[in-house]
């Protein structure tokens, strides 16, 4: 569903993403872990067609992001890092707009809005202006908008940012329930969050993919060295510095 082949992104002399390759299949939930500025968001921005890769190729649902961006966007649900929303719109009107612009309408759209509102617990703010919503509600509005059209590929950049612990648990259950028939990639800089949602982990730092591993394998490594999971991740990051 997602195929990233030797992708590089340069901003002038700065290399934000450096020769990254990985694949994500149907039914997989993959966590994208790395410190701030590691290149996670840049990679997601390329996968969602917002930024063109400087080199390499990205295919989403079988379509090339550079050659067939509209085909990619139709199959993609994307929550950007800062979750910018139209502040001057009411939540229900915003969701309807997001459905209409994706070619949805009538009873089908109403059903999908009802589903998204239920899953993201948005009843309380449905008639409110977005600027009146708390950070947690805004994040859930962004997630609802990204999933409204029932996409096959879901990219979520820091999706739990601004959610309280109870909401994080509900979000985890919600995302896990979406697994079937879809590929989900979400970024975070918090290991515990990735640990609770996904089995597979991509660790990135300074634009380079340092590890493509399962949490099970990482846990085994940590256990063999008698260290915590976090320390095993830090070892991987430090090894890059030493190299």
């Amino acid at each position: 569903m997602i195929k990233v082949e030797s992708v590089t992104k340069r901003f002038g002399a700065t290399v934000a993403v450096d020769e990254v390759s990985f694949e994500i299949g149907e039914g997989e939930i993959v966590g994208f872990l790395g410190p701030n500025g590691a290149g996670k968001s840049t990679l997601l921005k390329m996968m969602c067609t917002w930024l063109p890769p400087s080199a390499g190729r990205i295919a989403v649902a079988g379509f090339d992001v550079a050659e067939q961006p509209l085909q990619v966007r139709r199959r993609l649900g994307y929550l950007p890092e800062h979750n910018a929303l139209y502040e001057g719109m009411k939540v229900d009107r915003f969701l309807r707009f997001m459905g209409n612009i994706r070619g949805m309408g009538g009873k089908h759209l109403e059903e999908r809005i009802a589903w998204a509102v239920d899953k993201c617990s948005l009843d309380a703010v449905l008639g409110k202006w977005i600027y009146q919503c708390s950070k947690g509600f805004r994040q859930r509005v962004g997630v609802a908008a990204a999933l409204l059209h029932d996409p096959k590929v879901i990219l979520l950049d820091e999706p739990t940012h601004g959610l309280d612990p109870l909401q994080v648990v509900a979000f985890r259950d919600f995302i896990t329930g979406l697994r079937e028939g879809r590929s989900i990639l979400f970024s975070s800089h918090i290991l515990a969050e990735v640990n609770s949602i996904s089995e597979r982990l991509l660790i990135i730092n300074h634009g380079k993919l340092l590890a493509d591993t399962t949490l099970e394998s990482l846990a085994k490594t940590a256990k063999s060295k008698n260290q915590k999971l976090e320390d095993a991740v830090l070892d991987i990051v430090r090894a890059q510095g030493a190299a």
Partner: protein, 254 residues
């Protein structure tokens, strides 16, 4: 398996959806009401002042003065269109939706045109008053309105383009005012004379007047002449600005 929705949206439907959102933004934020009232009050005052001085059942002076009012009002309509999207980062949300940038540009432009249409509707009582008071040349007035609409449409297209180049609405407003006034002032006799004097060998002022300024085209409409070259001038430049706007959005993403 999920029942994923892979719907596509046609050009006109996309434009309509974007335009509806933009128009709602104008009305929800009260911008539409404030701008329309201000424009209508000023435009009608300008006409009444001229009308009481000359007492002629004609709108020529009104149409001529409007070319100085539009470069001040219309940039205020377009300044937020893309600058606000850039500043609030919603541009990333909008341009990763399954629509081409030209659809988003056309939708925003359509909403701005709608607002401008409201401005012009607010001046229709002048025509009604003239019809009550005498027998104005309605064909000439209609041509004048068409010229005014096309000029405004061109300024709105220029403003939409300029708005895509900056995230700062003030910079966008001032830049658009300047661009619009260049189109107007290159048609002023005094400006043409000065430029001709500076570059006599190429008659720079006259060249600009004939090939660049709105004046010869707009004046033809005000005289009641709807010519194909003038229609091509306004529509062609508007299309050029909108096309450039889509190109800017496609390339300027970093």
């Amino acid at each position: 398996m999920s029942g994923s929705t892979v719907a596509s949206i046609g050009f006109l439907t996309g434009v309509r959806v974007i335009a509806r959102r933009e128009a709602a933004q104008y009305f929800d934020s009260k911008i539409a009401y404030v701008y329309t009232i201000a424009f209508v009050v000023l435009a009608n005052s300008i006409f009444m002042n001229e009308f009481f001085l000359t007492g002629v059942v004609d709108m020529t002076a009104f149409f001529t003065t409007m070319t100085m009012l539009l470069p001040l009002f219309l940039p205020a309509v377009t300044m937020r269109l893309w600058a606000e999207e850039r500043k609030s980062r919603t541009i990333e949300l909008l341009l990763t939706l399954p629509i081409r940038p030209i659809v988003a540009v056309a939708g925003k432009y359509a909403a701005a045109l709608l607002l401008f249409g409201m401005f012009l509707l607010g001046t229709v009582p002048i025509v009604i008053m003239l019809m009550v008071l005498g027998e104005p040349d309605l064909g000439r007035i209609a041509a004048g309105y068409l010229g005014l609409f096309l000029t405004g449409a061109m300024f709105l297209a220029a403003g939409t383009l300029v708005s895509s180049l900056s995230a700062d609405q003030i910079v966008t407003f001032v830049s658009t005012v300047l661009v619009c006034f260049v189109f107007v002032l290159t048609g002023q006799e005094s400006v043409v004379a000065v430029l001709d004097g500076l570059f006599p060998s190429v008659e720079f002022g006259t060249t600009l007047y004939e090939s660049f300024s709105i004046r010869p085209h707009y004046d033809a409409f005000v005289r009641g002449v709807v010519g194909l070259p003038s229609l091509i001038y306004f529509l062609g430049l508007s299309a050029l600005f909108l096309g450039l706007n889509a190109m800017v959005l496609e390339r300027n993403r970093e």
